[in-house]
């Protein structure tokens, strides 16, 4: 019988496809086993690493940052799940979950004063105060990652850059453009007056007041009538010491 034609050929074809499929499956099986083996070896190596360097991971922010960066590059999120071997063997997730909750605490307490916007440097200062000197050091990179994880919970937590400053927001609404202009006008002295705002923005008084009012309603701006003119203080920009 000639190959390629007739019923026989058809049968051959079917069998060929089947064999191909079987081989494909076999190849995949082998590959799967390889991955499993590699995974197992990696876990052992990770355990060795953890034993040797866990202390560094916990106490040296730069090392932790590098580790996180490398994970990100390869597409792994070491903080994603308590079931990952990163969490189980290195225990790194707990550090960030803990940190996240501390950040939530500080932002909530601060909200009464600053309306939900806190400058990053101030947050770091309060964090370090809260954690005490015996706790592991935290860097801005750590805070950013912790907030990254908090974002998943959709509570309005995020890191934002406004007018050249890094702020931590803990309320759902974003600042409008007009509100951001007010922040710019406040600058490093943390307050502005109606005259100054009007001069800097060129807005009519009504627009200035609208922006200022909206910020006051949000609890982010407080007034001080001690000076010549009424001063509008943006609390997020003041570095207020706290016990």
């Amino acid at each position: 019988m000639r190959r390629g034609v007739g019923v026989g050929a058809f049968q051959n074809q079917a069998r060929f496809t089947q064999t191909l499929a079987a081989t494909g499956a076999a190849i995949q099986k082998t590959q799967m086993e390889t991955v499993q083996r590699q995974m197992s070896t990696f876990k052992d190596n990770l355990e060795d690493f953890a034993r040797k360097h866990r202390e560094q991971i916990n106490s040296v922010p730069e090392f932790r940052a590098r580790f996180n960066q490398m994970c990100k590059t390869m597409g792994a999120d070491p903080l994603a799940s308590n079931k990952s071997f990163w969490a189980k063997i290195l225990g790194i997730g707990e550090f960030y979950t803990d940190l996240g909750i501390q950040i939530v605490d500080i932002c909530y307490t601060s909200r009464a004063t600053d309306g939900g916007l806190l400058e990053m440097s101030e947050l770091l200062r309060r964090l370090r105060n809260m954690r005490g000197k015996n706790a592991h050091a935290v860097s801005q990179d750590d805070v950013v990652r912790a907030i990254d994880k908090l974002e998943l919970l959709e509570g309005g937590f995020k890191v934002v850059e406004f007018a050249g400053r890094t702020l931590v927001q803990s309320i759902p609404a974003d600042l409008t453009d007009d509100q951001t202009s007010v922040m710019k006008a406040c600058g490093t002295k943390a307050y502005t007056t109606l005259d100054e705002l009007a001069a800097e923005t060129g807005w009519p008084e009504s627009r200035c007041m609208a922006a200022l009012d909206s910020l006051m309603n949000g609890g982010m701006v407080w007034v001080d009538d001690g000076g010549k003119q009424r001063e509008y203080w943006m609390m997020a920009l003041t570095a207020m010491g706290e016990a």
Binding site: T41, L79, A80, S81, A87, I101, L153, P172, S214
Partner: protein, 396 residues
């Protein structure tokens, strides 16, 4: 036995222990007799022998006649015990002491620097053992030792030795850190290879069209990738993973109380913080937390996760819904909103005030007001900022 002094007793007739030095009782034997040396003539019958970390105390505990005799262990030089034997009716403990304590002697007629204690209850070995241990540990010298150690430690840090030590340590940890970075790079290279391999395999699996045998492989690969942190559980189907289903039930149980207190609605962030704080350890990551929340409907748990108009996510008691919150608004309005009869009483309700009154967070209070507005309970006044007034029109 000439080294005993009378020990102090407290208002209840009990032995006074030196708390500052952490003196503790380590053994007590009843029904013992005390002898000067081995002299049978001077005997004190039916006492209790109390060994502490610092002293040996012999006690007459007859009510009304309570008295304690003590000898500090610091002057005890040896302790031996002998059990019952053919010609010895009672077990005994012999102690040798050296020197006096400077206190008024409790037994002025006694001569010897030794004492013997005989035991009716045959626990002489135990007492001797405990006293031996106490003699080894010398708890009474601890204060002195601690002071010396503290001095030494201070010198280590602040003395010249201290400076040298620090230099050495920095050199060592610097090296250690370098080593750590090297190890990290090696480890991550391996991790990268693993990740690439897993991803390639996954793509192949997706492309291939095969029978069910492959589904199991797909699942297994997905599971492996989750273990490697390559996939977040939020995007994965975790309904068949007992870790997540168990966690879901635990979380649901925990949330019942807080949800009730918060009028049926809690921010997801708050629930997350509360739950982890309660756990204290083995904290749950936010990815896992969200994955678990999504499991609730499947598991028949009546808590739903809802995203509010403001963008905030909350967990809500499905049975209660927003009823309790709206009731809180109504309650507040009834008490504080004033009435149309006297326009001067009209007061707007702010989120902050409602929050405090209802015991919910300001964000949720705001949400409650927005809800109330939708339902026609309140009217918004945008004139100066945002205020809500009771909608008197609805009561018609």
């Amino acid at each position: 036995m000439n080294n005993f002094a009378v020990a102090g007793i407290d208002g209840y007739g009990g032995l006074v222990l030196d708390k500052n030095d952490n003196e503790t009782i380590i053994h007590k034997s009843f029904h013992v007799n005390l002898y000067d040396g081995e002299d049978n003539r001077t005997e004190h019958r039916n006492l209790a022998a109390i060994a502490t970390t610092h002293r040996l105390v012999l006690a007459n505990e007859d009510p009304g006649k309570v008295v304690y005799y003590e000898v500090p262990l610091s002057i005890v030089t040896s302790v031996t015990s002998k059990g019952r034997a053919l010609f010895r009716k009672h077990g005994r403990v012999n102690l040798t002491m050296k020197g006096r304590t400077g206190h008024q002697p409790a037994f002025p007629d006694t001569r010897k620097d030794q004492m013997m204690i005989t035991f009716h209850d045959q626990d002489e070995a135990k007492l001797a053992d405990k006293i031996s241990k106490a003699l080894e540990e010398k708890a009474w010298t601890l204060a002195e030792r601690t002071r010396k150690e503290q001095r030494a430690a201070y010198d280590r840090v602040y003395g010249i030795g201290g400076i040298k030590n620090r230099q050495q340590q920095q050199a060592k940890s610097g090296d250690a850190l370098l080593g750590a970075f090297d190890d990290l790079t090696t480890l991550m290279k391996e991790a990268q290879r693993l990740a690439d391999m897993a991803k390639t395999l996954q793509t192949q699996q997706a492309a291939a069209q095969q029978s069910d045998g492959n589904d199991r492989d797909k699942e297994e690969l997905a599971s492996m990738m989750a273990t490697a942190g390559l996939v977040s559980p939020v995007t994965k189907d975790v309904s068949r993973d007992s870790y997540y289903t168990d966690l879901a039930r635990q979380l649901a149980g925990f949330l019942a109380g807080p949800l009730k207190e918060a009028k049926g609605m809690l921010q997801v962030v708050d629930a997350y913080a509360m739950y982890n704080r309660a756990r204290g350890t083995a904290l749950v990551s936010s990815d896992d937390f969200m994955a678990v929340l999504r499991l609730f409907p499947e598991l028949g748990i009546p808590i739903e996760t809802v995203r509010l108009s403001s963008g905030v996510s909350v967990v809500q008691d499905s049975a209660v819904g927003t009823t309790a919150l709206l009731e809180a608004v109504e309650g507040y309005l009834a008490r504080f909103a004033g009435s149309m009869e006297d326009l001067s009483t009209l007061t707007p309700v702010t989120a902050a005030a409602l929050a405090e009154e209802a015991g919910v967070t300001p964000i949720l209070a705001k949400e409650a007001l927005l809800l109330a507005e939708k339902k026609g309970l309140v009217c918004r006044d945008d004139h100066v900022g945002v205020a809500f007034y009771s909608n008197f029109m609805r009561v018609v």
